[in-house]
Symmetry: C2
Subunit: 204 residues, 2 copies
């Protein structure tokens, strides 16, 4: 648990309160497990603050469904029914982004990824959510489908309180440079090393 | 995302299915953010499987309340009311463990930690939960309040499907040795380095 001590006080003209409430760009990178789970664990905190949570999964398969999705959808319903927590939207590329209403973008991942980013950009510019989880979003940037400099520019110019959490391996240097918080997860030991395959409740 | 390939097939007399469904001991260790958030993110998957979730937080303060607690309590109510997901229990040392019904164990953390472990041991022996999150449990072991070898022995002998997730810095070598999955989180960059203090929705 952080002790609340800061390494240095920057000469940025901001008060401690202003600096404290600056929205964060968080990057969770590294190997295998832990990146997305940590991002969704963090989003639970935002939900509990009553914040609007927008999840955008840049995964290829329409079928891939993680337990977090069902849990967050349940939390979204809790918000609708009782007012506790915040609203939740969960969008997935593989199934065809829900706002495009067209199924099967499986054939053109690059185009689907660009559509996803264009929508996220619109939402950021309109301050739609308080927390954006851009899951596996490093890959469209890595593969050149989405321009890293444009992403960094849009994030740098974002207004209000909009926390952005990006997960995935091989985060671009410009993204790491722009981020406030970068966490890397390293596998020290994994069951697959001992011949154990992934299992439900753990891997998904 | 893991591809489901294993590095080697062990000569342990188990079928792939048996091996696949072996319960895991997971240790999330490393610096600052990401350990507990990843553990709770993982527990969301278990909840979605309809599993019984037991969280035991070995934190000192009764006041410390993270957003995950409220979110998981809400998910527990979703289970009670609709049958979706699994039941959730959340216990905290700092407030006095709920089962002892005595407040203010703040004066003897060692005794409170031992009580917590004794209860967890009983539950594991009685197969009460499917997922145990023992948050910050490395510290009572590090400080000698709870015997590491006893913990490792109880976990090794546990029956049925009981996944155990332990978080905290400085995990004991015997615990790491016994674990199936060990993830370490490393801070590459943190807002406190730039003079930004912790903020709600992010740090708690």
């Amino acid at each position: 648990m952080p002790q609340g001590k800061v390494a240095s006080v920057p000469d940025d003209g901001l008060s401690t309160r202003q600096r404290r409430n600056r929205p964060l760009l968080v990057v969770h990178t590294g190997e295998m497990k832990g990146k997305s789970t940590a991002a969704f664990g963090l989003a639970l905190r935002g939900w509990n603050q009553g914040w609007s949570i927008g999840v955008f999964q840049f995964v290829k398969s329409a079928k891939w469904k993680v337990g977090e999705e069902e849990a967050f959808r349940a939390l979204g319903r809790v918000h609708e029914e009782t007012g506790q927590g915040g609203p939740v939207e969960w969008h997935k590329m593989g199934a065809g982004w829900s706002w495009t209403r067209k199924a099967g973008t499986e054939d053109d991942h690059a185009e689907a990824a660009r559509e996803g980013w264009a929508e996220i950009r619109r939402r950021i510019e309109n301050q739609v959510h308080d927390v954006y989880v851009l899951d596996e979003f490093t890959y469209p940037m890595k593969w050149g489908w989405v321009d890293v400099d444009e992403v960094v520019g849009v994030l740098a110019a974002r207004e209000g309180r909009q926390h952005v959490i990006i997960t995935g391996r091989d985060a671009a240097p410009a993204l790491v440079e722009a981020a406030d918080l970068v966490m890397q997860t390293t596998k020290i030991k994994h069951p697959m090393d001992a011949g154990q395959k992934g299992q439900r409740g753990i891997e998904w």
